[in-house]
């Protein structure tokens, strides 16, 4: 629905918007590799949806906090400039809960968010030789 401001939103719509599935991810605060946690497969599905776990892996995940999830958490933390620990700390999970764009952050296993690099092709006239230079 479309509203001129948030106070115009009917209360019952507000109520049914609060049951945000992603809020339940906060229950995984402190979870780390090597353990098994009830319902963790949902968080793996989240990370796969946004590209942090390869599409090639089938979507029926276990609740094991395995290396695949640890790598995904670390890449997520790196992308969003959080502490890169691989552990599901509260700050990371609070970030995961924020509404967002559906486009993936990671494409074909490569995070593009940190690239920031631009490649210049510089040609020195007369020598038709091309050099690649990278701006950091």
């Amino acid at each position: 629905g479309f509203y001129p401001n948030s106070s115009a939103i009917p209360l019952e719509l507000i109520r049914n918007a609060t049951g945000n599935l992603w809020n339940s991810f906060l229950n995984f605060t402190g979870c780390h590799v090597g353990e098994t946690y009830d319902g963790l497969y949902k968080l793996k599905q989240y990370f796969q949806h946004f590209g942090y776990i390869p599409e090639t892996l089938s979507g029926n995940f276990t609740d094991d906090f395995d290396d695949i999830l640890k790598n995904a958490v670390e890449m997520y933390q790196r992308n969003f400039r959080l502490n890169v620990t691989g552990v599901l700390d509260e700050l990371t999970l609070k970030h995961v809960m924020i509404p967002r764009c559906g486009n993936p952050d990671v494409v074909n296993g490569t995070s593009t968010m940190h690239s920031g690099r631009r490649t210049y092709e510089v040609s020195f006239s007369g020598r038709s030789q091309r050099f690649h230079a990278v701006k950091r």
């Binding site: 479309f2 507000i14 924020i98 509404p99």
Partner: protein
């Protein structure tokens, strides 16, 4: 800023782009005007132009609000969580979750997070248009192309990070006389009046 793999962009002979809305949505003029404002922000810094047309089938960009599964294998998920997605050039598809509580005023709501379940439509539109033009997500938190948006928050001004990215793809707006300087991409930008919710 980042780009889609292969750096796809609208070809040089297609820079005057048209956009249309899915007629099934029966959107009001007020809602459509939010998108006009959003497109104008990108037009201001590039040689691109965006014109709204009636024909949803022949426009360059197709905009629609859908709930759940809507044919592209990326179903929406109800209020909050995933808000919208858009495809890289020259595909032109721009989909938004019909089940969100969208704030359409040009002020983007009251700015106070009394209702955390509301989303500023223009903020999301400016972000997704960045994808339609070829930009990926940016890790700079204050930028428009940062993947997340705090509910109740309005973020519609292009930052230097966004402008640098889109001008890498298309160059500058030849008519831009430099009087408009985008704000820097700083973390403070996202605090708004209330600020607390976005200072995680």
């Amino acid at each position: 800023y980042s780009l889609f793999p292969g750096e796809p962009r609208w070809p040089s002979n297609r820079r005057d782009l048209t956009y249309a809305f899915d007629p099934r949505n029966k959107l009001t003029e007020e809602v459509k005007t939010v998108f006009s404002r959003a497109f104008a922000r990108w037009a201001q810094v590039t040689p691109l132009t965006f014109t709204r047309v009636q024909s949803f089938r022949t426009s360059d960009i197709f905009i629609g609000f859908y709930a759940g599964e809507h044919g592209d294998g990326e179903p929406f998920d109800g209020p909050l969580r995933t808000l919208a997605h858009a495809f890289s050039p020259p595909t032109g598809h721009f989909h938004l979750d019909a089940e969100e509580n969208w704030i359409i005023s040009s002020e983007g709501g009251d700015g106070v997070l009394s209702v955390t379940e509301a989303i500023d439509l223009e903020s999301v539109a400016v972000h997704e248009i960045g994808h339609l033009l070829g930009l990926g997500h940016s890790s700079v938190e204050g930028s428009i192309m940062y993947p997340t948006i705090t509910t109740g928050m309005r973020k519609v001004e292009l930052t230097t990070n966004d402008v640098e990215g889109v001008q890498y793809l298309y160059g500058e707006n030849p008519n831009l006389n430099g009087s408009v300087v985008p704000p820097p991409s700083t973390q403070q930008r996202d605090t708004g009046e209330s600020g607390a919710a976005s200072r995680i």
